[in-house]
Amino acid sequence: MDQSVLAIWVFLCLIGLLLNLSMVAGNAEGDALNALKTNLADPNSVLQSWDATLVNPCTWFHVTCNNENSVTRVDLGNANLSGQLVPQLGQLQNLQYLELYSNNISGRIPNELGNLTELVSLDLYLNNLNGPIPPSLGKLQKLRFLRLNNNSLNEGIPVSLTTIVALQVLDLSNNHLTGPVPVNGSFSLFTPISFANNQLEVPPVSPPPPLPPTPSSSSSGEMAMVRKERPGCLGKAEEMSPRLDSLMKALSL
């Protein structure tokens, strides 16, 4: 009699444990995203659908899942968000696209993002992020797009990034990065465009006649390459004034 009662209790406990585990597993990614929501100010209510009581976050707007209900995309570009990122983002094991560009997000890039080994695109550009680029990002071997431009990131470019063979588009421009620019590994493909407007040590843009490239001593400091975003409005206006002059002359004013 005692043994069968014991057996029933064990059985019930096991069921309870299993149910508990499945619920927790279903919610771990939701919890991670909810931690992000808690850390962000959201004046446009883009995260309104983010309901942590749901079994998984796959019905939330701006979240995409695969057919195993695991998060593959977070699309929150241009959403007027501010606040900070959270280390829990590193728990989204199947995440491929993290799109948080053009917001007002501050604080550091969490080291834990280096755990997102399925990541294909990391877009944090046009925010207020500070601190270093975590060397752990070198673990993201499937990364094709790494755009961290237009933030306030400082310190050096981690050499670990040169091991990411899949990297196609790198933009680190418009930050406060210092130190040398790696040219080995995947970085052979990247030009001064990717590094413009930092405090990096970059050799002169226009190379002298056949000389092996040496780390420049004479041109340390900020690279004098201005990216034409608002295409040289001033330059164009200067081009224009002679035309305006002749126009006015023609009208004899």
């Binding site: 241009n78 046009l126 030009t191 465009i193 206006a237 305006l244």
Partner: protein, 210 residues
């Protein structure tokens, strides 16, 4: 009364000039290419400039942008589109271009010697399988960041300029099936190369010269 009309006309002309002039460089680049290329199959029909919006050129066929928010061209891939004509200086407005693939078309004329001042940040240049003629410009040696240079299957003549052998990042080079001659300059660091199909080319991995 006359003066106010004149001022109005002036204002109008000013705004027209201003519009053309503040059109982003890269838009000007693509517009120039479209005007310059002959496109009998209408492959560039998606290149529609009638409505400017954020990143609109990024949706054009063959155009890759640096990001979704800027009209800034990273790559141009127009292989096998039956395009012809010569390479125009409109390229100089695509100042952020790093990949140019025009392979498998019917482009002709010389490879412009100015190409590396127009687009100094080229990493991949693929002009293979066209009808480019005249010599390989020595000025290609100014494309400091070039990793891959494909010039095979054209009508190029003359020598391979030694300046190209000094490109420190060059890893892949093909000049096969042209009309090149003379001695192949010493390259180092090439992982992939093709020189065959040039009757009077010698040296390097080919037969010794003279």
């Amino acid at each position: 009364m006359a003066k106010s009309t004149i001022f109005f006309l002036l204002f109008l002309s000013f705004s027209v000039l201003l519009h053309n002039v503040t059109a982003s460089d890269d838009i000007r680049c693509l517009q120039g290419l479209k005007d310059s290329f002959k496109d009998p199959n209408g492959n560039l029909n998606s290149w529609n400039f009638s409505n400017y919006s954020m990143g609109f050129i990024c949706k054009f066929i063959g155009v890759g942008c640096w990001n979704d928010l800027e009209n800034r061209v990273l790559s141009l891939s127009l292989p096998n589109m039956n395009l012809s004509g010569q390479l125009p200086d409109a390229f100089k407005y695509c100042s952020s271009l790093t990949t140019l693939d025009l392979s498998g078309n019917r482009f002709s004329g010389p490879i412009p010697s100015e190409i590396c001042s127009w687009t100094p940040f080229l990493v991949i240049l693929d002009l293979s399988n066209n009808s480019f003629s005249s010599s390989i410009p020595a000025e290609l040696g100014n494309c400091t960041y070039l990793n891959k240079l494909m010039l095979n299957n054209n009508k190029l003549s003359g020598n391979i300029p030694p300046e190209i052998s000094r490109l420190t990042r060059l890893k892949v080079l093909s000049v096969a099936n042209n009309n090149l001659s003379g001695k192949i300059p010493p390259f180092s660091g090439l992982s992939d190369f093709e020189y065959g199909g040039n009757r009077h080319l010698c040296g390097g991995p080919l037969a010794k010269c003279g």
